[in-house]
């Protein structure tokens, strides 16, 4: 195990020398310019470069839908002490390509409900749609200093996951119910997905801190 560990360690640390960065998907966040009544500012999420990243292009070309899972958390900053998680929200965007039609479909899933899919004939149109800033309707109501963190997981789905996704889009609100499995089962799937060459990426972003005032009636 030690030898394997050394090999892995070497790979991790040598990777930058072997690598060349290309066009990569990225995520960032900003605060809305307009403050709410209590001074709070809503977060705005920017996703860039998804379809200019060759890995995701290839996934789409191979008819593998891409799921972008956004997990946004609201934190209260407490200097010198542990910050407090005061809220969290999650939503997804599903991008797929119908090879026969050469059409792209983008579906926004909010609160476990899928919006009507939007279809695009061109990759550029799809990319433009995906890179629109997303202003999230969430902000703290208590007084204090706050900030937002965002974790974006981008994954390409397997054929089986496609079936699961379609089941969800067909109205099954708990598509994961039969697939929670154990770590062993998830591990097998993960390994197979990796061997199959399916990409997966986790991106993170955070905002600067902002002050929220207490509103008195």
């Amino acid at each position: 195990m030690r030898r394997l560990g050394w090999i892995l360690g070497s790979l991790v640390w040598l990777a930058p020398a072997l690598a060349a960065q290309g066009g990569r998907v990225s995520v960032s966040m900003a605060l809305n310019a307009t403050a709410e009544g209590n001074g709070a500012k809503k977060p705005i999420v920017y996703l860039r470069g998804l379809l200019t990243d060759s890995r995701w292009n290839q996934a789409l070309d191979n008819s593998l839908p891409i799921v972008i899972n956004y997990h946004l958390e609201v934190w209260r900053s407490r200097d010198g002490w542990i910050d407090e998680l005061t809220g969290e929200v999650e939503w997804q965007t599903v991008v797929s390509k119908e090879p026969l039609e050469d059409e792209y479909t983008v579906t926004l899933v909010i609160a476990n409900r899928a919006e009507r899919p939007r279809r695009f004939a061109l990759r550029d149109s799809t990319e433009y749609f995906l890179t629109r800033p997303q202003r999230v309707d969430v902000f703290p109501t208590r007084a204090g200093r706050f900030y937002y963190t965002l974790t974006v997981r981008v994954t390409a789905l397997s054929d089986a996951d496609v079936a699961q996704l379609e089941r969800f889009l067909a109205g099954d609100t708990d598509p994961d119910a039969t697939d929670r499995g154990t770590l062993f089962g998830r591990g097998i799937r993960r390994l197979l997905l990796r061997i199959a060459g399916l990409p997966s990426e986790v991106l993170q972003a955070k905002t600067e801190e902002f002050e929220v005032r207490e509103i008195r009636d």
Binding site: M1, L11, R116, R132, T182
Partner: protein
């Protein structure tokens, strides 16, 4: 002059246009607390059957793919289209069926029949005419086109994670029956890869009480030359759960003949299975339990559950078999220790409280589990242990003991970039006679105290040779602290070397956290006497083992280096397939 002025205005507009466009067209409002307005109800099964019948009818003009009826053109008769957009700019005289596509009636288009759209929408542009009825279902229809050109219902294939399993469900009245065949989802040196098979019956009760009966046969493919265990086991469970909307109360019973781990640490079920299968290192020990159990659980909220159970077991020793492993297959397996065989009656209370914000990568919340049990036996056959560990116990004498085990984890974020996690895990004897082998504990190994070797703290007296490295301690307590921060560089790197890229893909390296950890723990024998710690005390902190370490957690894979600082041990490298805790 006019031309230059016009050019200037055009240039000004061109410069101004992007910001203007950006202001009014680009921002999307995400309202997480509200469901989308236009949700996608799936088409009912009868509607799907109906549109398939229409499409397959010989009297239907079938189109596959997008189709445009141009201006001035006229199409008469029933039309159906699959996976495509039907744009009507001319006149369509007849009913229209669109399956997994859209119907767009252009400004000059006319449809004078009924329109059914499944898996799409009807878009009637200004000037377009639709004279019939409309019926739309947004959810995609689960259909596919056969080589003959006809449509059929698409059956879902098995999921990738369940390739090694199969199941079939059917409904009879209120009862759903599922026949399944699959693996036990782990791998160990006693059973190998157990195969589970059998039916599950579930019933949604009319008064909000759901019932489930499940019988799982367990086939163990590895042979046992000692014949101490059977090749086949089983678990039969019957359970009633209150409230179909959210099960908050359940009562049930089960009978079983199954293999159980003696301790559920140092590694979890999944990692222990991988380690066994790949590296021939099984970090757990096992025994066979044959018995009956009744239980009651209450779940006042989704985050909190209390379970009370009573069980009567015949607990038996089982030997290690010789399952295959990828590496070190020629090596002998670590023996599985003998336990104190006998019939045990056990009452157990367990609680679980989980407020983590993310089940796999938490950064906030609590994860608490604890269980306390009181057990007795009248026919136990205690294994002879060194006198320093346990005085001899006469076989068949009345024998009772109590045990507590807890695992408290706290996740917190210090600031936007630094997260911390703390864990206190431990427990052991709390009363009665000394613990039997199958309830004893130990520390050391890849999870808790990774700077120490496997079961370095197992309370074996000096000179006691035990190739099974049996856990012999009465009590154990450990504290783990971990600080992690996201590494600024992005992973995976774009690697152009195909071989390296393949390795990187298989390993699934994603974004990485830098982890700094410190751990301390102690396992000991309790009671009066030399080398023991009094029952009402824990060892002095100066006697505890401490290790520190650093690692990289890449999401699904972690590599850590840890070193004990209270004893002379080499640096240990640990490869983990999940977060430490």
């Amino acid at each position: 002059v006019n031309r230059s002025r016009l050019g200037g205005v055009a240039l000004f507009l061109a410069l101004l246009a992007p910001p203007l466009l950006a202001q009014d067209t680009t921002v999307v409002e995400i309202r997480p607390t509200k469901a989308a307005n236009d949700t996608t109800p799936g088409a009912p099964a009868d509607v799907v059957q109906r549109v398939i019948a229409i499409y397959n009818d010989t009297g239907t003009t079938r189109l596959s793919g997008s189709f445009t009826l141009p201006v001035g053109a006229r199409l008469v008769g029933r039309v159906a289209i699959f996976r495509g957009t039907l744009r009507v700019n001319g006149t369509l005289q007849g009913a229209v069926t669109v399956i997994n596509g859209d119907l767009i009636i252009g400004p000059s288009g006319t449809v004078d029949g009924d329109a059914v759209v499944v898996g799409g929408r009807i878009d009637q542009r200004p000037g377009g005419l639709h004279l019939g009825k409309e019926e739309t279902y947004d959810g995609l229809a689960p259909v596919f086109r056969q080589p003959s050109g006809l449509l059929a219902i698409r059956s879902r294939g098995p999921q990738l994670g369940n390739l090694a399993s199969a199941s079939k469900s059917f409904q009879t009245g209120r009862v759903t029956t599922t026949l399944s065949l699959g693996t036990g989802r782990t791998y160990n040196r006693v059973e190998g890869l157990p195969i589970l098979f059998g039916p599950t019956f579930t019933s949604i009760g009319p008064s909000g009480v759901d019932a489930k009966f499940e019988f799982k046969g367990i086939f163990r493919p590895t042979s046992d030359p000692t014949k101490l265990r059977d090749a086949v086991g089983f678990i039969a469970t019957a359970e009633l759960e209150a409230d179909s909307r959210r099960h908050w109360l359940g009562v049930g019973g089960r009978g079983y003949r199954r293999i159980l781990p003696i301790e559920d640490q140092p590694l979890g079920l999944g990692e222990a299975g991988w380690s066994t299968f790949l590296l021939q290192r099984d970090y757990r020990d096992y025994y066979e339990a044959r018995g009956l159990e009744g239980y009651l659980w209450v779940e006042p909220s989704r985050r909190f559950r209390v379970t009370l159970s009573l069980r009567s077991d015949n607990e038996r020793s089982v030997p290690a078999s010789d399952p295959v492993s990828v590496f070190r297959n020629q090596d002998a397996w670590r023996p599985n220790p003998l336990i104190d065989d006998g019939h045990y009656q056990t009452a157990q209370l367990a609680i679980a409280y989980d407020t983590k914000n993310d089940p796999l990568r938490p950064s906030s919340g609590w994860d608490i589990s604890a269980r306390v049990e009181q057990s007795q036996s009248h026919d136990a056959s205690p294994v002879g242990l060194p006198i320093e560990v346990r005085p001899p116990i006469a076989p068949g004498s009345a024998y009772s003991f109590g045990k507590l085990w807890f695992d408290v984890r706290r996740y917190a974020r210090f600031n936007p970039t630094v997260r911390a996690a703390a864990r206190i895990v431990g427990g052991g004897w709390i009363g009665g006679d000394p613990l039997p082998i199958q309830r004893r504990v130990s520390l050391g190994g890849p999870d808790v105290l990774p700077g120490l070797g496997f079961r370095d703290l197992n309370c074996a007296p000096a000179g006691f040779s035990d190739p099974a490295a049996t856990s012999l301690c009465d009590r154990a307590l450990a504290v783990e602290l971990e600080i992690r921060t996201h590494i600024g560089v992005g992973l995976p790197f774009r690697i152009h070397n195909e071989d390296l890229a393949t390795i990187q893909r298989v390993l699934g390296i994603e974004s990485a956290d830098l982890v700094v950890m410190g751990n301390t723990g102690k396992a000991w024998l309790t009671g009066d006497g030399p080398g023991r710690v009094p029952n009402n005390r824990i060892p002095k902190f100066g006697e505890w083992d401490i290790d520190v370490g650093v690692g990289i957690d890449t999401g699904g894979l972690g590599l850590y280096a840890a070193r004990a600082i209270t004893r002379d041990e080499p640096i240990r490298l640990i490869l983990r397939l999940q977060r430490r805790f």
